[in-house]
Every structure is written in C-alpha cells, then in structure tokens.
Amino acid sequence: MPSLRFRILLAFIGTITLLSTALGFWHYRHLRDLVTRSFTADSQVFAHLIARQAVAPLFAEDAAALERLASQALALPSLHGIAFWTAEGRLLQAFPAGDLPFSPFASTAIALDDLPAAAATGRGVLVRAPVMLATLSPEGVPTGPLRRIGEVSLWFTLDDLTRELASIRNTVVMAEALFALVAGLLVFTLERWATRPLIALIEKIRGIAEGDLSIRVEVPTRGGEITTLCQSVNQMADALQRHTASLERSLAERTAALDKLQALMDNMSNGVMVCRPLPGEEDFLIEELNRAAAGLGHLARDQAIGQPVTHLLPGLRPMGLLEAMRRVAREGRPEHIAEARYGDDRTQGWWEIFLYRLPSGEVVTVVADITERKSAEEAWRRFNAELDQRVRDRTAQLEAANRELEAFSYSVSHDLRAPLRGIDGWSVALLEDCAAGLDERGRQYLGRVRAEAQRMGLLIDELLQLSRVTRSKLEPTTVDLSALAQKVADRLREAHPDRQLEFLIAPGLQARGDPLLLEIVLTNLLDNACKFTRPRSPARIEFRRLDPAIDTDLAAGPTTRSDSEWPGHPGGPIGRPDPATLARVPVFLVRDNGVGFDMAYAGKLFGAFQRLHRSSEFPGTGIGLATVARIIHRHGGRVWGESRPDAGATFYFTLGEPS
C-alpha cells in the first residue's frame, strides 16, 4: 500500500490537477464562447457599419468607392472577402476575387441566393447586412419604410479565430500547467510541513508495532489534532503495555495450564483422541492423541496425527465406534460405550469409551482399557458364582442345622418342662406331706427349690416362645396397635394392683404385621417399662408414634448409630435407621420414666440372656428384648433403645416399609 505521504501528495496533486484541468477547460471554453460570440457580434456590427458606409456608393454603384470601402474593410485580418449586391441580387463588386483559398465571391456568376450554400462549404463565416436607404420627407425627416438598395456580404475566415483560440488554449494550458506546478510545489512543501509530525508519529508507532512498547511519542506543546493523537498513542501504548503484560501473564498461566493439561493427558491411563470429522463424516482426521491412546493402538504419536482414524485403527468400524463418532459429531450428544471389544492386526482388547463433541466440532474419544478389568470381572463373576454356590450350600447346611437346633431346643425345652414340673410337684408334695418332718431350714430349702424350678420353667417358656417366634409362619394384617397396647396395659394394671401406673397410649395407631407377634412385642416392651418403673410412683408409660415436632432430640440429633455400636448385630434389626428411612416409615416408641440404663451397655440390650440389672432388683430372664428384636427382624423393621440412668428409657421400633 502506498505511503501516507504518497497518498496525500497524490490526493492533493491529483485534485489540483483535476481542478486546474477542469478550470482550464472551463476557462478555455468560456473564452472560446466569448471570443466566438464576440467575433460573431463584431462581424455583424462590422457588416452593418460597412453597410451604412456603402449606402451612397451602392446607390451610385460607385465601384471605386466600393473598392475603397472594401480595401479599408479588408484591412481587418479575419475578413477575407466582401461583396456588394444590388437590391435585385446582382453582384456589384466582390473583393478580392479568386486569389484566396476560398471565397464565396470567387465566382462573379454566383447568385445572392446561392451564397449561403457556397459559404457552407468553406471554412468561414458569412455575414450579410442589408444596405438600407431612408426616404426624407419634404420636411427633412425620414419617412416611410427603409428601402433596401442592396446587400453587403462579408466572408470572415475562421483561421485567425482558430489561431487565436489555439493561442488562448496554449496560454491557458501553459498557465494551468504553471499553476499546477506551483501548486504542486506548494503542496509538496506544505505536505512535508503538515506530515512531518505525522511521519515522526508513524515511525514511533511502527516501533511500538514492532514490539518496543517502551517507546513514547513526544507530545507537541501546541494543541491540536496531532497533540491529541500523540497523547492517544501514548495512552494506547500504556494500555498496550499493560494489556501485553496481562496477556503475557495470562499466556504463562495458560501455558502452564496447557502444560499441566498436556502432562495430564500424557500421564492419563485413559487414551484421549481428538478427531476432526472429514467432509461427509465418512472418516475422521486425528488431530491430537495422548500417549495412552497411542499405546492403545500401538501407534507412533507423531505419525498418527493428521492421519484418517480408520487407516490407523481399522477395528473402529466393526466395533461401532466410527458410527458413534459420527452420531456425536452430528448430534452433539455425549455417548458412553460401557464396553466394546476392539481388535485388529496389531492389538485387541476391551475398551470403555466416552465420546463428546468440542464446541469447535472435534470429537473427543476417551478410551479406557478395561481388558484387565474385564478379565478380573470374569474371574470375580466365576468366583461369585462359586461363592454363591458355596453360600447356598452352607446356608442349606446352616438351615438344616438350625432346624435341627431349634427342634432340639424345642424338644429340650419341652422335655425339660416335665422334670421341672415333677420337681415342683414333688417339692409341693414334700412340703405338704412331710412338712412335720422338715424344719424351718428344710422348708426354706424346698421353697428355694420350687422357686428355681419355677424360674427354670419360666425360662423354658420364654425359650419356647422365642423358638416359636422364629419358626411360626408370619401372617401379616392391619393391626390396631393402640388396642393391643391398651389390652396389655389393662393386663398389667390387673397384675400390679398395688402400683400407680399411668399409661399414655396414643389412639389410632395402626400397622401392618402379625398381630400375635406384635402383641408379644408390645407385651415385652410395656412389661419391661412397668418393671423398670417400679421405683416410680406414679409410673408413666407412653406408647405413641414418633413425632419429629416433639421428639426433636431424635429427629435432629446425631446421625444414626451404626450397627457397629451394637456389636454382635451386624446387618440385623438393631439400631436406628437412616434419616431417610425415619422420614419415610412410621416409628413407634415406648417411653417410661423408669430407672433407665447406661447407654454404654446398650449393645447388650437385645441379646438373649443379657441383663443390665440384677435379678434381685428387677427379675427377668433376659430373653424378652431378644424376642422383640427377632419379631421386628421378621417384620423387616428395626428396633433400638435410648436412655440415661434414672432418666427413663425409650424403645423405638419400625415395622418395615409401608406397603
């Protein structure tokens, strides 16, 4: 592109040249018209003057006078011919005759009417003027119309006019050329004066553009556009410097990030391949792939970039990955191929593939080599199958053993009841029949025998009950828990008429379960509450549904205790469920104001034969809560207890997911 100076010079000089040319052309044309009009007017005026002077000679047909007049007129350089005609159109005199290159009067035989046609063939102007003669009245004043007594015809050549116009044209051209030259020199000088600051500014800007952002432009002291421009350039340089620094920082950060990304890609165990779809999406060109991807396909990374993917990995098409890449490239939806088997002449294996499309259109293929995982899964699957088989076998064995054990326990318990009943019966018989032979100590001992036998019987009953709970068939139905609890409460009031018992049973509590087993649960829980509130009067026992608005300590308390807090019950029914389950299933609770227990021993609560209090304080077999836990387990629910010593205890249970 031409320089600024050149363009400025070209623009100004071109404008001056154009203007001077146009002006010169206009001036010359104006002059030409003026000269032509002046020539025409002058020639006509001249013709009329000649006509006026020719009145008398023409009237007298004075050839000498006409010749004298013609000779005087022909002194006019441009007049090359003059003729005098009579009123009848007869050529009287013509001067000169025939000694010029052309003259319409060359032939004396020419008629006046033929004069225009003859003049039209020559290079000149024919001007005709009538010679008029007035008639004087007797009073000496002109009267009547002028009388035409002849005509004067003048033949003006245009050669002189043409030469004059050529001279004018040459003068105008010379003047305009001189003007253009002077103007050009002036423009050249002024251009240097005007563009010097601009050129200096451009040099500075070029330096800045070449990267030297430390360059600053000297700002002229006088105001003006150049000053504003210099200030703007300096501001731009400052901004550019700041921006460049920012860009360099950003570039460094981006480079570091890119290095990290490259390192990440290079060190990824998954292969990453960036492919650009070819027109028609028949194939894809590899634009980038990491070391893992190169390793997966046994490819040389540098040679693979830029190659069609199907040439390097021909197995993509049979495995369906090429079609998936086309879909992703076309639709833009990421795809996940959980597993696919790749195979070609170089390599084969199982791949897990993620496909997605970049905003720029490239398709990124992330390949995880899951060949080992597939092998492990296969081994694991085989191992699980074997384990399942072994578990099934073991379970069968355990079930069989359990059934045998239960049958044995039942048999033992049932069979033990007869001897115990015999011991108690014979002890009663001994006391009744042989009371005289026994002293006080003997009777005391027999009383202990009977108590132990009865306790043993009670123990066997509860063991039998526990065994039945396990073995009996579950028949779930909708159970009115409030009614059941009220029933148990009435029985307990009857059993303990000496105690002041307050049962607070929420009405309308219903659940789905086996009514017999649920009655056992409520009996055990309410009986325990009645037992451990014996020191309290009144004893307050509450059965209701857990209300998160009231029982905030449980609802908003710490997370559920894991089963690990109740050793020995992993995966069992013991323990508070997770909050989601709590929010989903109804939770029932039995709360009392009894002696409570130390939570440190809570793990023993639901174990068979486990007791937290001495039998002398609170009699019992230690099987009740184990029975409760087993029933709750059979219903698919969970049970747990919370308490503090002397602060009462609360036992919660659920009955599985609502149907």
Binding site: Q53, A56, A60, E61, A64, A65, L133
Partner: protein, 287 residues
C-alpha cells in the same frame, strides 16, 4: 574635316532655332492634373516643351536662354514664371491671383455654369433653387454664377459649410424637391465626410447633385462638365498655335470650352429621371 565642320554648323544652327521655339511649362509636380497636362503637352509638342517643375528650376536656368512661350499651371508656377528675365508670353491656367504683368495671358477654366444649369433643367425642369456650398470665400458664388442662375431662372442658395456641425442642418434643405446641388471645386469640400453626407442626403431626398469631376459623377453626382488633362492640353495648344499678336498682347482672357460631359445614368435612373438621348449622346462618359 570640312564635312565634319559643316555638320556641326548645321546642327548648331538647328539647335539655336530649336531653342528659340522652346515652351517652358511651369507646374507643381505634386498635382496630378498638372503632371497629366504636362504629359499631354509633351505628347503634342515634343522636345520643344521643357518641363519646369516648381522648386527644381534654378535661376541660372531661367536666365540661360529665352523660351518662345511659357505656360504656368497654377499660381505658384506663375510666380516662378514671372521670375524669368525674358519678355516672353506666359499663358496662365488655374490662376486665382490677380496679376498686372503684361506678359501674362489667362486661360479661364471655371465651371461652365450656363451649361450646368441648362443640363440640369433638361433633366429636371422643376428645379428652381440651387444649393451652393463652399468653405472659403474664394469659392463663394461670384457674379458669373449669379448671372448664369438668373439667366436660368434659378435661385442660388449659397451656404458656407466650413463648420461641419452645421452640415446636417444645411443638408435638410435637400427636402425641397425643387432643390439641386451645385458643387464648386472647393478643396474644403472635397473630403469623404462631406461628400458621403452630401450624397447620402441627396439620395434620400432624390436631390440632383451637379459635380465638376468624373469622380464626383462616379460617386453619385448626376452629371458634371469635366476638364480633362487632354482637353486642357488641347486648349493650351490651340492658343499656342494661334497666338494673339504682340500688339494685342496680353489680350482678353481666353475661356476654356472643351468640357467633357459625364453623366451618372445609374443614379439618374434610380432617382427616376429620364436622360434625353441627345444628352446621352453628347456625354463623353457615362456611369
């Protein structure tokens, strides 16, 4: 030797005879009429005629020998001729000044007013007035003019037009159909300004103009009686061939009568005047 002597004697006698018969013509060479007249005289008299241009003739020449005749064309020439010491007759033409020298005899060449008026009246009988312009008193209407006009029953209206500003007003008199113009040979009038104005006014008012030269007739005058150099030379020659006796010398002033009539038939035709055939026949020049 004797033969040669005899020839010389004869020649000397012949030359002496010729010298006695010489005619000296004094003239101003710058005036064409005089020069042309001289040529005509030379053509008629041959070597007897000796041109004596004024200003080029020395006194010693004038005193060298006596001519037989001397002709003076104009006043200046007459003054030079009167400077001759010889008592020879001097025939003066175009003389305005009065002289009492007995050697001088004049040939009067003034315009023939009787002829002019007679011709005018033949062409336009209704003419009753003559407008006569002049610039100097020398050309003021003299008795001969008045007498001729009276004889022709014409009234001469003389007007001195030395002031050109009065000319337009004076030319208005041409509006009178009974008016004609008589131009005297006044050099003060012989300029194109006067003549152009005069003829233009005459043409506009159909006024006849009487000129005195072919040039004026050519320019538009109806007619003129013209004295040509040849006629003048003839008249002079006639006087020289038939001189008055020395006793009657200088004798009466001779009148020039060999006038040529020039008629501008074109102008007369355009003015609607018929030229009589005998008049046309007597004209020596028609335009």
């Amino acid at each position: 030797m004797l033969v040669l002597l005899a020839i010389w004697l004869v020649a000397s006698l012949g030359a002496s005879q010729a010298a006695e018969e010489e005619i000296w013509v004094f003239y101003r060479p710058d005036i064409p009429l005089y020069a042309d007249t001289l040529k005509e005289l030379i053509a008629r008299h041959g070597p007897r005629l000796v041109p004596c241009p004024v200003g080029r003739v020395s006194a010693s020449f004038l005193e060298s020998r006596s001519p037989r005749w001397a002709i003076a064309l104009g006043d200046t020439a007459l003054q030079r001729a009167l400077a001759m010491p010889w008592q020879v007759p001097i025939l003066g033409v175009f003389i305005d000044q009065t002289t009492v020298d007995p050697r001088v005899m004049l040939l009067e060449v003034k315009q023939p007013h009787e002829l002019q008026f007679a011709t005018l009246l033949r062409l336009q009988p209704a003419i009753s007035r003559i407008w006569y312009p002049y610039t100097t008193e020398r050309f003021a209407p003299g008795p001969s003019l008045q007498r001729a006009a009276a004889n022709a029953r014409l009234q001469v209206v003389a007007e001195q037009v030395s002031d050109p500003r009065r000319l337009p007003e004076a030319l208005r008199q041409f509006a009178d159909p009974a008016m004609a113009v008589l131009l005297p040979p006044d050099p003060g009038l012989m300029n194109s300004a006067f003549l152009d104005a005069l003829f233009l006014a005459a043409f506009r008012s159909h006024t006849l103009v009487i000129g005195f030269s072919e040039s004026l007739v050519r320019q538009g005058a109806a007619f003129a009686f013209v004295m040509t150099p040849a006629n003048l030379a003839t008249a002079l020659s006639e006087i020289l061939q038939d001189p008055p006796s020395e006793e009657s010398w200088p004798g009466p002033t001779r009148l020039f009568h060999r006038w040529n009539l020039a008629i501008n038939r074109t102008v007369l035709g355009k003015l609607g005047l018929e030229v009589p055939a005998d008049l046309l026949a007597s004209a020596s020049r028609l335009f």
